[in-house]
């Protein structure tokens, strides 16, 4: 059941004069996806990369970092698009209770019902 929500606005307030905000993603082990690690403020992309390294990589905890200017991220949080009010259960794989319908269909077709 979904709740109606107002648009949320940015997750974090825009950076002050401390610099631009950069979002940092890190890969912890080979083959794992890049996951959001946090963010840094920096005057420019080059320093942002250094600070990402210091904050999310100096203890050998990352194999790879992605550093992305926050304003380059396409942000979608419109509830009409993401949390529409009507029942969406039919779009979910578990949305239909199939067992009874299957049993009825098999009976109509003259098959024995399979053991549960």
């Amino acid at each position: 059941m979904s709740k109606a929500r107002a648009p949320r606005g940015p997750i974090l307030p825009p950076p002050s004069e401390g610099g631009r905000a950069f979002e940092v993603f890190r890969q912890e082990r080979d083959g794992e996806p890049m996951r959001h690690a946090g963010n840094v403020l920096a005057p420019d992309p080059e320093l942002a990369l250094h600070y990402a390294r210091e904050l999310f990589g100096r203890r050998q905890e990352s194999l790879r970092l992605w550093v992305v200017p926050r304003e380059e991220i396409l942000d979608l949080d419109d509830p009409d698009l993401l949390q529409p009010p009507l029942d969406r259960s039919f779009k979910k794989p578990g949305g239909y209770v199939m067992r009874d319908k299957l049993a009825a269909a098999r009976a109509r077709a003259g098959h024995e019902e399979e053991p549960a």
């Binding site: 403020l41 920096a42 250094h50 600070y51 390294r53």
Partner: protein, 263 residues
Amino acid sequence: MTVGVPDTGTAADVQERAAIAELLLSLADDEFVIGYWDSEWTGIAPFLEEDVAISSLAQDELGHARAFYELLAELIGGSADTIAYGRQPDDYRHARLLDRRRTDWAFTIARRYLYETSDSIRLAALEHTTFEPLAGLVAKIRREERYHLMHLDLWLRRLAVPGSVGRARLEAALATLWAVAGSVFSPLEREADLLRAGVLDAPFSELFSRWCAAVGPVFDELGLPFEPRQPARDGRGPGHGPDFQWLWTELSSVYRSDPGATW
């Protein structure tokens, strides 16, 4: 304590070990002292991210110092801790470049840039050293120093922006540093033994020339003067001055409170 070498083996062995010990002590003390100076920025760096960065760089240097002190301890006996903390100020052999306090941010960056680039030339000259334990360590340290160089190069360029407050402060800091800028390359007393044994690939005077050739063009590019003096022979000896005396009192205070303590 002062640093001495056990006189076992042939005369040549003893001579070579003493030369290596002198070299290791200069490497270790340089990293140790710059590490302590720059850790003075923790909590008060220009902004939070840089606070973490400069503190992390300072910590790296203390890590390198520890590794050099450990090699030295294997060579001459004692422990890394007693060598690092158990000496009097005049027994330290860091370069004159590292005698002064952190001062302002521009001074810290200017001094650190001169130091990192010097250290990089020196480590390159030790890459193929015949002293095996040092060769392995130098290879690892050089991989970490790559990032230090990147970070300092980036800061030097940002402070050098013409017409900025940073530029004025950078120029003022450099003006006070030229006299000692090349002091990492001060000749060591036993340098001839290091060269004979293949521990070091060229005399320090040659390393100083390599450094000038590598770094001079960067200053030209930024329109900054580049005026280092040929390093003097006494560039590491006693007489480190009042700033280092203060630092030594700070950094050795815990050790001196109970010199025999184990942790």
